[in-house]
């Protein structure tokens, strides 16, 4: 319904522009701006619905089944499932995510040029800073005592960058004042400086849930009739989380007697929350990560979000007459190569590859912010 309305609106505006002179220059400019705002390229036509691979009931059943199985596996064998899931899905889910973002990238930035400049500059610089933090630490550039301050500074920059993007996005939308983001951002910065490590841990736990938001926004546009079903399924998530927390809160902490297990428990916050069972922390984190992987690798492709994964037609930057098909093809092929390299790396030295992956993977965490904002 939404697609038809938007496409119809675009056609009307174009028809008005073609059919005859408009009254006054301002009206013409307004029409041009309206036409420019409508990003026809990233919208699927009515064919999108027929392209869906499953129906709503099957989709809901898959969601609920996957969530329950993920919760059971994460609770039962948290460390083992964490190792296997990162090995299998870390690379591929990044590739699917990158492909999805390319699909959402308009062929011409137009009025969004500044937004994308800030977005890409932020992703690049923040990722570079994040990766260089441990490198500088190991090079003895600063002592470990300053580590919380370094983390707090990085978190502050990230919050301010996202706030800038929100404000820029707000300006593109008519009748929307998103100034409220500033007090919230500054309050988050204050909380971050009080407990930088806990703030970083919160990002670790919140990031997987962003995928669920992406799915929500995508369904709202592509399959609005499924949205209600999806949101009902989402109600199961807090129940499963409460179940995991209740079931595992009194369990003994996991034995982190080797380097790999220690890294996994630390990543889940065992060091920061010493009075909380590390079994519960790792299980919760693994459960959320499995959902994250499931959304990018299974759910979005299932509802036809990315079309055939080898096809470039659904990527405006590639399919547009003035696009860059070769470049996009090269990016996707290189991405596949990186996925294979990651698998080899995990096979050769799992611990080291995991460390490197989670440092570099910050790029995809950051990239989610601007693309999610573009969908709001």
């Amino acid at each position: 319904m939404a697609q038809t309305l938007v496409c119809g609106k675009a056609e009307k505006v174009i028809h008005r522009l073609k059919s005859g002179p408009l009254t006054g220059g301002n009206a013409c400019i307004t029409c041009m701006e309206r036409a420019e705002k409508i990003n026809v390229a990233v919208w699927h036509g009515p064919r999108a619905r027929t392209r869906t691979r499953v129906n709503a009931k099957a989709f809901a059943a898959i969601l609920i089944g996957s969530a329950c199985v993920s919760a059971a596996l994460a609770s039962w064998l948290p460390l083992q499932v964490s190792i296997v899931s990162v090995f299998l899905f870390a690379g591929p889910h990044n590739w699917f995510e990158a492909r999805y973002f390319l699909m959402r990238l308009p062929a011409r930035f137009g009025r969004s040029r500044n937004f994308f400049i800030v977005a890409f500059a932020g992703i690049g610089l923040l990722t570079l800073a994040y990766v260089s933090l441990p490198a500088l630490y190991y090079a003895n550039v600063w002592s470990g005592a300053n580590w919380p301050n370094a983390i707090a500074t990085w978190n502050t920059l990230m919050i301010l960058w996202i706030s800038a993007l929100v404000l820029m996005r707000g300006k593109q939308k008519a009748n929307r004042d998103w100034f409220w983001v500033l007090p919230i951002a500054f309050a988050l910065c204050a909380g971050n400086w009080l407990a930088p490590e806990l703030f970083s841990l919160a990002i670790v736990y919140l990031h997987p849930m962003v995928a669920l938001w992406f799915l929500d926004r995508h369904l709202r546009r592509a399959k609005p009739e499924w949205l209600k079903t999806y949101r009902r399924c989402l109600a199961l998530l807090p129940l499963l989380l409460v179940g995991i927390l209740w079931q595992l809160s009194r369990t003994a902490s996991l034995a982190d007697d080797n380097g790999l297990f220690w890294r996994i428990t630390q990543h889940a916050g065992a060091d920061l929350l010493p009075n909380v069972s590390s079994h519960m922390l790792v299980s919760t984190h693994v459960f959320l990560e499995l959902l994250h992987y499931g959304v990018w690798i299974v759910a979005l492709p299932l509802i036809g979000a990315s079309g055939a994964i080898w096809s470039l037609k659904s990527i405006p930057v590639a399919s547009h007459s003035r696009g860059f098909p070769k470049l996009i093809e090269a990016i996707l092929v290189c991405g596949l190569f990186v996925v294979v390299v990651l698998w080899f790396g995990f096979s050769a030295n799992y611990t080291l590859t995991r460390d490197v992956y989670f440092a570099v993977a910050m790029a995809h965490v950051l990239a989610e912010a601007p693309f999610l904002l573009r969908m709001i």
Partner: protein, 192 residues
């Protein structure tokens, strides 16, 4: 030969005087190291007229908690302690709190025109309820810990139990276990 002997004796005398002088150096004053609280628990002090030795009884559960807390005590104290000892972070947090409140005020003033008076009244009402609740909760806070220990001397004389809170601290060194009771001097009748 004689020269060597004299030289050797002189060196020995010098070494002996050095040892003597070194031994006479006053022991360096050790700066008192602040103990680090790792666990908060309860403590009951009681007397036993039949016992020959003082006894310290710790339940298995408390001992386990104590072991866990001691094992995890390498992170430099609680969050509040770390914040209190980091002026940079305190300043930054305060600055951002100031900015948050300032910008919230600007946003509120900007958007006041679009809001109806009921919404503003609702916000103020919620703020007032939260403020009142804070005051009530604060007013309802329990008495300070030392109050529970005030009757300890009398209770010991009477052979009664006294129970209060206790912070378990880790201090460097190998000294004996020390129990510090927060007793306040009470002024007798007629004392100024």
């Amino acid at each position: 030969m004689q020269r060597t002997l004299i030289l050797t004796l002189a060196v020995c005398a010098l070494l002996a005087s050095a040892i003597y002088a070194f031994a006479d150096i006053p022991r360096p004053k050790s700066t008192p190291v602040e103990g680090k609280t790792i666990l908060y628990s309860g403590l009951t002090v009681t007397s036993d007229p039949k016992a020959y030795e003082a006894r310290l009884q710790i339940s298995q559960g408390t001992l386990k908690h104590l072991q866990d807390a001691a094992a995890n005590s390498g992170d430099g104290g609680s969050m509040m302690q770390r914040v209190m000892h980091s002026s940079t972070r305190t300043i930054m947090a305060g600055t951002f709190m100031f900015l948050a409140i300032s910008f919230a005020g600007i946003w509120f003033a900007r958007s006041a025109e679009r809001r109806n008076s009921k919404a503003i009244a609702a916000v103020f009402l919620v703020a007032m309820v939260l403020g009142l609740a804070t005051v009530i909760v604060r007013a309802n806070a329990g008495p300070p810990g030392y109050i529970r220990w005030q009757n300890l001397p009398q209770s010991l004389k009477d052979g009664k139990e006294t129970t209060g809170g206790v912070q378990v601290e880790l201090v460097p060194g190998d000294d004996n276990i020390k129990l510090i009771i927060p007793l306040r001097k009470t002024k007798g009748p007629g004392e100024e």
